[in-house]
Every structure is written in C-alpha cells, then in structure tokens.
C-alpha cells in the first residue's frame, strides 16, 4: 500500500469524523443554494432523511448496486421539493419556511410509525458501500459546480434577487424559475448526503433527521456566510470539529448551534467569510 501506516491509523481512528466532515459539507452547500436566492428552506434534514431512507430501502429491499442507488437517492427528495416548492415559491418566503419545517416533523412521525421504515429501531444492516473518496469527490464536484455557477450569469442573477427581488425582476430575472431550481438542487444535494451517510454508518433512525439537525444545518451556513460556496463549508467544518476538540462541550453542542444562529443574524449578517464572489467586470 502507498499509504503509510501512521496515516492509515489516523484515518481509521477518525473515520467517523472524516465522514461527517464531508457529509456536513454537502449539507451546508444544500443550505447555501437556497439562501443564495434569498429563500429559507428548513427541509434540509428532511430531504437528507428522504435520501437516506429511500436509498437504504433500495439497497436492502431491492438489492440494487450502490452505483444505481446513489443517483436514484435524489428522486424522492426532489419530488417532495417540487410538491412543496411549486405552491410556496410564488408566495413570500415564510410559506416555504413553514412548509419545510412541517415536512421534517411529519416525516419523523411517519418513519417512527410505519413498519416499512423500521419504526423506532430504524433500518440497520445497511452495507457500508460508500467510500470516503466518494464523499469528498462529490463534495469537491458540488463546490466546483456551485463556484462556476456563482461566477456565471446565473450567479449574478441569484445575487441580484437576493439583494433586491423587485429590481432583479425588472431586469428580467425569472425569479420563480431560479428559486425552484435552487430548491431542487438543494434537495438533490441533501438526498445524496443522506444516501452517503446511510451507507457509511450501516444504521439510520427516525430521530436523525428532525428539528435539531435541520437547525444545525442552518447554523453551518449562517456561521460561514453565503458570499461564496466555500463559506458554508468552512462553517460546517468548524461546527463539526468543535465538539471533538472541546471535551465536555458536546452536551452543549446544540445550545451552541442555536446561539450561533441568533448571533449571526443579529450581529454578523455576512458570516465569518464575508468576501464576495470574485468576478471580472462584465
């Protein structure tokens, strides 16, 4: 093997942490896409759960190979995003926020009570077919794609509608199409993150996709800021590493995540990384 022993040991010891860093990075990006068009979806954890449960069922019940399961895991989250997004995105932002929080609560109740989803025990015995390199390759691909989109005409349109919706509309930006596109992209990213996490941890349960993770994912993006796609990934990295670095902190992790959001909205509206997308003059 080309990997030296000490590195191999290190990777083995911190395997879970390395997986969560990558998966949380993908979730932070799925939050970023929606915030970048000036909307607030609190369904990231719910979309992740849909990806995780649907992919686990495809693996366990239908015995599909992982290369087929992974892309298919975005289908169910995307369908839910459409069902909720089409009616709410023509209204003011509070409707999407309300409907997506509601989605999380409902899905938790369904996973808990419907036999197909294993009830309170969840689904176990999921093969660990997702490799670490897959997580990071997908995270890298998503970052690159969002970076390129951010620098393109589309990125300018997104920034314009985030700053001033009416002005953007007057300039000919089809805001409804952009919002729907952003919500779909976000559901797809979260769904893939869910499938990856289900296939590295061998077990998924109904409590993992509820209110707490939904708010935590928002705290990733708000800590980092949404100026560029790198910023939310920085936020998720900090908030994933912090409980590991500070012993005794893990009990208060959720309190801290909540407080981060309050502070970020009240005092740091641009997040830690407040720089903007670098662009040449048009």
């Amino acid at each position: 093997m080309a990997i030296p022993d000490w590195l191999d040991d290190l990777l083995w010891t911190y395997q879970n942490l390395i997986h969560s860093l990558g998966i949380n990075g993908l979730l932070a990006l799925s939050m970023y896409v929606v915030l970048a068009v000036g909307q607030l979806s609190l369904g990231q954890a719910a979309f992740m759960g849909l990806g995780a449960y649907s992919s686990a069922l495809m693996t366990l019940r239908l015995h599909w190979p992982f290369w087929a399961v992974l892309p298919a895991s975005c289908v169910v989250p995307a369908a839910f995003a459409l069902a909720i997004g089409v009616p709410t995105l023509r209204l003011s932002g509070v409707y999407l926020a309300i409907a997506t929080i509601g989605l999380g609560e409902v899905l938790r109740a369904i996973y808990l009570n419907v036999d197909l989803f294993g009830g309170a025990l969840g689904l176990s015995g999921i093969p660990d077919s997702a490799e670490t390199w897959m997580i990071y390759a997908l995270l890298g691909a998503a970052l690159l794609a969002l970076w390129l989109i951010g620098r393109s005409r589309i990125g300018r349109a997104m920034e314009a509608m985030r700053e001033d919706e009416v002005a953007a509309q007057v300039m000919g930006v089809n805001i409804r199409a952009y919002r729907m596109g952003a919500l779909l992209a976000s559901a797809v990213l979260a769904g893939i993150a869910g499938a990856l996490s289900a296939h590295v941890s061998s077990f998924i349960g109904p409590g993992e996709y509820g209110f707490e993770p939904a708010v935590t994912i928002l705290s990733f993006a708000l800590l980092g800021g949404i100026g560029t796609p790198l910023a939310p990934v920085l936020g998720s990295t900090i908030l994933t590493l912090l409980p590991e670095l500070l012993r005794g902190f893990s009990d208060l992790r959720l309190v801290f995540n909540g407080v981060i959001i309050v502070i970020a909205v009240l005092f740091l509206p641009n997040g830690l990384l407040s720089w903007r997308m670098p662009r040449r003059a048009a």
């Binding site: 409907a99 609560e105 959720l254 959001i261």
Partner: protein, 293 residues
C-alpha cells in the same frame, strides 16, 4: 360512535385552536413567524407540572399561573430577540431565523437541565371519572379543556374588540407605520401581544399535558406542526380562521385515528397543509392578505 368521535375531535380541536390563536395573533400584529412559540407551550406545561407536583397547587390555580408564566417568558424572549430587528426593519426571514436558533438553544438547554424523559402530572389532580350525556362520554379533563378554552378565547375577543389596547393592536396589524404616527406606543403594544400570545401557548401546553398526560421538553415542537397547519388553513393572521381551522383539524385527526390509522394523523394534517397551499394559499376563508413574492 360517530357522535362520540365528533365530540372528542371538537375537544381536541379546541386546544389546537387555542394554541394557534396566539401564533396567528403574533404574526398578524408583529409580522413575525415566531418559532419560539412552541417553547412557550412547553414552558407552560412544565410550570404547571412544578406547581402541582412541588407546590401541590390544584389545577385551577396551576393553569392560570402557568399561562402567566409563559406570557412573561414570551415578553422577555421577544424583547431580547426581536426589538433590534424591528428597529432596523429587517426582512421577515431574519426574524424567523433568529427565533429558530433561539428555539433550538432553549429546547436543548432545557433537555440537558431536566432530561428528555416524559413526565406525568400527579395522579388525582383531576378525577378520571367520565360523565355521560346522551350516550356520549366526556371526562372531567375534557370539560376543563372546553371551559378554559371558551374563557380564554372569549377574553381574547373582548380584549381585541372592546378595549383601547385591542384597538391599538388592530391598528398595528393593519398599518404599522400609521399606528405609530397616531401615537400608539408600538413597543408597549408589541409586548402586550407577546404576553397574550405566550399566555395562550402556555395554557395550551397545560391542557394538552392534561389531555395526554405526557410532558417533555420537545412537546412544543410536535405541537408546532398543528400550529402551522391551523394558521395556513385559517389564513396567516386571521383569528376567526384559526378558530375554525383548529376545530376542523382536531376533528380530522380524531376521525383519521378512528377510521384510518392513528399513525397517519400527522401525515393527513400535513397533506391538508400542502393541499391548501396549492389551491387556496390565502387560507380557506380567504381573508388573510396574501403575501405574494
């Protein structure tokens, strides 16, 4: 059988209506989807638990006590989180995010202090006896729920329609800037609305705690789903709409549990929410001003 289910549904729906009333009032007047609202519900239930378990107070003392306590918490939270955002006229999504973060912090702080276990009100707090009227069984807890809801809703409607404060609040909900210009003390009225809403949520927490006899930190979060369904179906900010939608939701839930599957209660409620958003986003009664993008 059907009549019995209908009565159970109306009684459950009365609590939902009570809970959602404060939520919709807050939105109508303060223009904020305040997600800490679910926490006031939890707080009310826990105050009642402490009052009955530790101080051995009877329920008819503990209930108003819990409602007032939750109201004070609501005023404090509103002051700490939202005054600044109101002053800079922040977009509504900012205030939604702040209250969301605060909700997570409050729930998880409470869980780490008190533990996630389900607690029960002391036995004998209210007699488990049921009264039979024309073949329909009603427990004393249910009668208390009905009585308390009727009194609170009546008091709220009187406050809104018959007092100067009510007039100020209604003016704020229609024209916030103009209300300030004609000399209404906006900060005081906002505090009053938070207090009243917090009281309603706290009372709802006690009543639901009595009805299901299960009190735990996250009970408010499960209740928020009902709150969302009621205020969307009734129309955002529409008080009469929230009353009717709350009753309807209670009936639908009880009927779903009785004739379909009790595991589908939440799913049916959410399906109604999405169906209303598709077809009639201004609420079933169509009086709420639709906030288009």
């Amino acid at each position: 059988m059907l009549a019995q289910q209908l009565v159970n549904g109306v009684l459950l729906g009365a609590t939902y209506a009570l809970f959602a009333l404060g939520f919709t009032l807050m939105f109508g007047v303060l223009r904020v989807i305040n997600l800490t609202y679910g926490f006031y519900f939890t707080a009310g239930a826990f105050i009642a638990l402490a009052a009955t378990r530790t101080a051995h107070l009877p329920i008819w003392v503990a209930l108003p006590f819990a409602a007032l306590g939750a109201g004070l918490i609501a005023v404090l939270v509103d002051f700490l989180l939202l005054t600044r955002l109101r002053r800079v006229r922040a977009p509504e999504l900012s205030s939604l995010m702040v209250t969301l973060g605060a909700t997570l912090a409050l729930y998880s702080a409470m869980t780490s202090l008190l533990g996630p276990d389900i607690r029960r009100l002391p036995p004998g707090l209210i007699s488990p006896q049921a009264i039979e009227i024309a073949g329909i069984r009603v427990t004393e807890a249910q009668l208390l729920i009905l009585g308390a809801t009727a009194i609170l809703v009546g008091a709220l409607l009187l406050l809104l329609r018959r007092t100067r404060f009510g007039l100020a609040i209604r003016a704020m909900s229609e024209q916030p800037d103009a209300a300030g210009l004609v000399g209404i003390d906006i900060a005081r009225a906002a505090a009053l609305v938070s207090f009243v809403s917090g009281c309603l949520a706290g009372a709802g927490g006690v009543l639901i705690g009595l009805n299901f006899n299960a009190i735990h930190p996250y009970m408010g979060e499960a209740m928020m789903l009902r709150g969302f369904v009621v205020i969307i179906v009734g129309g955002l900010g529409d008080i009469r709409g929230a009353l009717i939608a709350g009753l309807l939701l209670g009936i639908v839930e009880v009927m779903t549990a009785a004739y379909l599957d009790s595991n589908l209660k939440e799913a049916v409620a959410f399906a109604i929410l999405v169906a209303v958003l598709w077809t009639k986003p201004s609420g079933l009664f169509g009086r709420a001003r639709l906030r288009r993008a």
